[in-house]
Amino acid sequence: MTPVNALFGKPAAIAASLALGALFLSAGWTTLPTRHADATVSYELAAPMDGMPAASVAAPAAAPIPVPVFLMQPDHATMRSGTGLLQPDGRVDITLFDPSDPRLIHGSEALMFNTEFRVLWLLATDEERARLWHGIEEVGRGLRTAMDGIFESPEFTGEYRDALQEIGRMAIEEAWRAPSTRATYEEFLRSAEPMLHDIVGRDLKAIAMKQVEPLVWSLIGANVGMALDPFRSQSWDLAPVDQAIDAVLREAREAGLVNRAARQLADSWQAKAFLKTFAGNVVDALAHQQRLRDVAGRMVNDPRLAAYLKPVSGPAGDLARLAPDLLFGVQAGADLNALAAHTFQGFLTGRGGPLIVMMSARQREDILTLDRYSPRILLHAVPQ
């Protein structure tokens, strides 16, 4: 017999059981997801901005897709505040978790992003970005100092530099001799001739022709006396020709003819194929060099060189702690950074998709100042 039964009788015990059962079930019921809630607010995608790269915008899909909706608060902390449905026509119907949440007053405007880490950078505060930049610069400075120290160290110059230069030289020679390099090089040369011919025939000829007429008159002027002397013994004065050639070269240089020709050559697929093949063969040659592995292994394990990395290890450690702290909010006791969690999940799974961040007008302008292209502006629409 239960205490309730004993104290108050069976009806009281039954009533207690019913009350407890109802209490437990209703508690469980409150945990179930909200279903079929109506859209609270609607937006529509603004037209893409001029000059926006096509790949940087989240294009509406053929079928409606769910989009997570976040709210950026005044301190730039983000919280998940609802779920949107991106319609094929670019309309976004948003169902807010709690439309009466007073924090939504800061979310009158909305931007749509692709789920990528860049979003976290854009949504960081100016102070956070400044701290991160400072950290990155410190790492860069430390890295330069460290590399300078290594390359100038007696340990490197005495034991590694000559060996590495020799290895590099051998790899380049090996790659140059490789049949595939030679084949692409020949192809490149063959393709270069028509291009050079075209440049000479069109651009250089025009410049040269401009000098021909003055040249003729200069030559006549310089040699007219000697031309009338039947016993002349001196050679022709050809100085005007040298001057004309100098003028042609100067004008061609001023017109960027050489640079243009070089760029034209470099832009050709034959040049790219040659460079890729050559570079690939260099890397292959390096990879097959047992000596390189030996030398690199000795360098990595050389405690004398490790001492030169000290300038970078401190800033790198600071940055490694600072970046997740600021961007992801990974601090013990910190509240959830729902946007970071979503971004990280999208990164891991490769299923990012679009996301919407609601914010104040001021925050939106600040973000668009940083990046005009990757966010898509959402305009208010009438809920349907």
């Binding site: 207690a16 437990f24 469980g28 949440d101 509240d335 950074n337 999940q345």
Partner: protein
């Protein structure tokens, strides 16, 4: 009135114990209608065995008692070697009342399962004994004398041709024992039924006995002895020289003298008129009794307030622990809880909903209920309630065992749902403590992502959850019944059965959950 005027005739009765030792050899005796015969003999001589034989409770066959002989009691003679006697209605030594039923329900169930529906006269005769007892009174609240009368009335309502009393005066003082004897004599005469009274202490019952049979343990026979106390004592001493020569009744208890209630029972028919027991007894179908036991065990095993609090508390703790430690003590603890939040919630929801809560719920359910079942069944065995049910033609398997097993399955599923609800609620609140700025809906959308893929319908994996919870409860309940039904000689054996039942039940639960979880990985 259903009255029999059949004599009981036993002819050539031979009984061998399960160990092969003889108990009786070619014994014959008869008891006439309205005759009260006292069966006396040394302790352990086998007097109660004869009562069990006549009441149909003696297990005979290979490895059991071996019986031969014939029984006549009206109708066709019965071959005791092959047929089970059903002539005797037994009033057990310890009353064997069904203590989960009220006083009137004890009578009602006997009447409803009698071979013939008791008529009003029989009911009046039986209920005449019940003066001073409230129909709704619980058995536990009845005094010793009231229980004795209730047990006799219940046996009368079963309407068997012969009344069998197994040491009815055991534990009674002299006055009570004599009044009980008068009651038995009056009943036999009024109902014209033969009565066999097994008694160890004979003096108090001798005045009401028509004849006395002595169990001759040396010659394995029943012999009639004079209705003389000294002669009987001398015969008993001769059979058992180690027994004390005198004062065998000196140990009779004085307790209960003031509460006997037997003082009024000398008058049959007309007593107990203060309450109309006939109407109270009424008639119920067997389906009613099935539902009665089903409801009784549903209450005890599933939905009593303590059970709900116990299961709810377990689920609350489970929900809190999984959510709190899931976020705080995973790799890198709180530092990654924000980064891995979404997937952590999904994982915790899946593990909690399909593994942790079902397992904890099952273990709590089985541990508690196996203890109750083993105790309940063990108590019924120890107090001869199952024997009484069998003697009253009440199928324990149909009512009690099926009610237990059905409630183990149904209750485990109901409490699983309640536990899942409570654990989810505790998880949600615990999560909110850790992330106070976030909306509950965020938790909902992630926590149930794999349990309710469309937010409404459970995933198919929940079928396996239901299966393992139901199967483990069914097996554990079955084990508890088997363990509870084992031989019980003392309360200590019930205690041991309870412990064994919990261990076996929980082990079975763990095994079922582990096997199904592995199979459905």
């Amino acid at each position: 009135m259903t009255q029999t005027s059949h004599a009981l005739v036993i002819d050539g009765l031979t009984i061998d114990r399960p160990n092969g030792q003889p108990l009786l050899r070619q014994t014959s005796f008869a008891i006439d209608p309205a005759e009260v015969v006292l069966l006396v003999g040394p302790s352990g001589s086998g007097k109660s065995t004869i009562v069990k034989l006549l009441g149909g409770l003696l297990e005979n066959g290979p490895g059991e008692w071996r019986v031969s002989g014939r029984l006549h009691c009206g109708g066709q003679p019965m071959d005791l070697a092959t047929e089970r006697s059903a002539v005797g209605g037994i009033v057990f030594q310890d009353h064997a009342l069904f203590n989960d039923l009220s006083a009137v329900e004890n009578l009602r169930i006997a009447a409803d399962h009698a071979a013939h529906r008791p008529d009003s006269v029989l009911i009046a005769d039986a209920t005449a004994l019940l003066d001073g007892i409230e129909p709704t009174q619980t058995v536990s609240s009845c005094s010793g004398g009231q229980r004795q009368r209730l047990a006799i009335a219940r046996t009368l309502l079963a309407d068997r041709p012969v009344l069998l009393f197994d040491e009815p005066n055991s534990g009674l003082d002299v006055a009570m024992a004599r009044r009980l004897g008068e009651l038995i004599r009056d009943l036999c005469r009024t109902m014209n039924k033969p009565a066999l009274v097994v008694a160890h202490h004979v003096k108090d019952l001798l005045p009401v006995a028509d004849r006395v049979l002595l169990f001759d343990t040396r010659n394995h026979r029943l012999v009639e002895v004079p209705r003389d106390a000294e002669a009987i004592e001398a015969a008993l001493l001769a059979l058992d020289e180690s027994a004390p020569p005198n004062g065998s009744q000196a140990g009779l208890t004085e307790t209960g003298l003031a509460e006997t209630g037997l003082v009024e029972v000398g008058i049959l028919r007309g007593a107990g008129k203060g309450r109309d027991w006939r109407q109270e007894i009424g008639h119920r179908s067997r389906f009613h009794w099935f539902l009665r036991y089903l409801a009784e065990y549903f209450w005890e095993l599933c939905v009593s307030p303590l059970m709900l609090i116990y299961m709810g508390a377990g689920a609350l703790i489970m929900g809190f622990v999984s959510m709190w430690f899931g976020f705080h003590y995973n790799s890198f603890g709180g530092y990654l809880k924000s980064l891995l939040h979404d997937e952590t919630l999904v994982g915790l929801g899946l593990v909690q909903g399909t593994v942790a809560v079902p397992l904890i719920s099952s273990i709590l359910f089985v541990a508690r209920n196996n203890a109750i079942i083993a105790a309940d069944i063990g108590n019924r065995v120890l107090s001869s309630q199952f024997s009484a049910m069998q003697n009253l033609r009440i199928t324990a398997r149909g009512y009690i065992f099926s009610a237990i097993l059905i409630n183990m399955v149904v209750g485990s599923l109901i409490l699983l749902v309640i536990s899942l609800g409570m654990a989810s609620w505790a998880s949600m609140q615990t999560w909110h403590v850790q992330f106070p700025m976030q909306s509950f809906e965020l938790w909902r959308s992630h926590f149930f992502r794999k349990l309710l893929p469309d937010g409404l319908h459970p995933s198919f994996s929940m079928v396996w959850v239901l299966l393992k919870v139901a199967l483990s409860s069914l097996l554990a309940g079955g084990a508890a019944i088997v363990i509870g039904c084992g031989k019980k000689e003392s309360v200590l054996e019930i205690n041991a059965a309870i412990a064994r039942s919990i261990i076996v039940g929980v082990t079975l639960t763990l095994l079922v959950h582990a096997i199904i979880s592995i199979l459905t990985l």
